[in-house]
């Protein structure tokens, strides 16, 4: 699971790991400095595009938060005046449902073909709690057996044997803290789940490679998932979370 981003992250480590002499390092340092400042440091079309994307993302976040606030009023109407219907699912039931899907097996090559091999399993779930804004937090425990980490020849110079054996040991097991965001997609008639691994504790200390490992887990293991809804959970239903339940208000 861990060295998923290895080929991407290794070049970043290059200036630190290569035994460069000062005269040889100078042009590279110059190139790096120029690359960092770009063309004089002024704003470019890339900055403009980034600003457009940022506004678009924030507009969509605001829309989702506004919808959640409106849903809250409908739920208060339901609770205080029994207006409309509701489906309520408690954290215990949700935890049991996830447990029913376990153990979840996956092969090392699903994480990084040619670099990781072994038999992996998500074996348990605990610490499930619901958070404001249609989110849930949980911890997944995993284990790996017959784990092998193979570093491609072009990267061998940059990864020590100690790091490889730490990665191998780390992949034999650990815990992942995951936050799941849920929202309804009327267009697809589906409930969309977006999991994100926020922290991890592994069987070995990964040191500076931990960030790479977390990125790899998020890219390869934590996929956005669309679940087709069946009646009465139509896509026009609304979702909200309370400390006690995930609530669906069917329209």
């Amino acid at each position: 699971m861990m060295p998923l981003s290895l080929p991407l992250s290794l070049p970043r480590a290059l200036p630190l790991s290569l035994p460069l002499s000062l005269p040889r390092a100078l042009p590279l340092a110059l190139a790096l400095a120029l690359a960092l400042v770009g063309c004089g440091g002024g704003l470019t079309t890339q900055d403009l595009e980034a600003a457009r994307l940022d506004v678009k993302a924030k507009e969509s976040e605001l829309k989702a938060t506004s919808a959640a606030v409106e849903t809250k009023d409908d739920y208060v109407d339901f609770l205080s005046a029994s207006k409309g219907g509701a489906i309520l699912i408690g954290p215990e039931a949700l935890t049991q449902a996830i447990k029913g899907m376990l153990p979840y097996p996956f092969e090392g090559k699903e994480l990084m073909k040619g670099m990781i091999s072994g038999d992996f399993q998500v074996i348990s779930v605990h610490n499930f709690s619901l958070l404001p804004g249609n989110q849930a937090r949980l911890t997944l425990k995993f284990k790996g057996e017959r784990v092998k980490v193979t570093v491609p020849s072009q990267y061998r110079a940059f990864v020590s044997k100690g790091e490889v054996s730490a990665m191998k040991k780390a992949l034999t097991g650990g815990e992942l803290d995951v936050t799941v965001s849920a929202y309804l997609s009327p267009k697809d008639g589906a409930l969309v789940l977006k999991p994100r691994c926020t922290d991890g504790r592994f069987n070995a200390n990964l040191g500076k490679r931990k960030g790479d490992v977390m990125n790899g887990i998020n890219r390869k293991l934590m996929r956005k998932k669309k679940l087709k809804l069946s009646a009465p959970l139509s896509a026009s239903a609304r979702l909200l979370t309370t400390p006690n339940h995930l609530v669906i208000l069917p329209r």
Partner: protein
């Protein structure tokens, strides 16, 4: 002394990675658009933070209200809705292990028009 070929290669790399990847410099019109976007981004963040505060407060209030109404169920419940068989898989894994979670009615909840349910996983 730095090797001349290496220096040239490094400068070419800088030109490609630095200037090239950051795009063209902005025109006056584009700069104005950028300023407006930055201002809009800040205002959207403020608006969202305000709504998020409201949402956080209502999260707790709704929970308290559920408890007062006797609706803080451990399993699942449905009121004024027939939720029998509604699929609700929350395990966001890449592929499903051939199982599905669906709601099954398990009895009365002791509250008018509300039924108790379990979220049952089947093969």
């Amino acid at each position: 002394m730095p090797h001349p070929t290496l220096t040239l290669a490094a400068l070419a790399l800088a030109a490609l990675v630095g200037c090239g990847s950051r795009g063209e410099p902005l025109t006056a019109e584009q700069e104005a658009e950028h300023r407006a976007l930055v201002a809009k981004s800040q205002s959207l963040s403020q608006e969202r933070a305000k709504l998020a505060q409201e949402l956080n407060a209502s999260f707790k209030k709704s929970g308290d209200l559920e408890k007062r109404q006797g609706l803080a169920v451990k399993g699942a419940a449905a009121c004024n809705v027939n939720a029998q068989g509604a699929a609700f898989d929350l395990a966001a894994f890449k592929k499903r292990p051939g199982r599905r979670a669906a709601l099954r009615r398990s009895g009365d909840l002791g509250r008018p028009s509300c039924d108790a349910y379990t979220l049952k996983v089947t093969e």
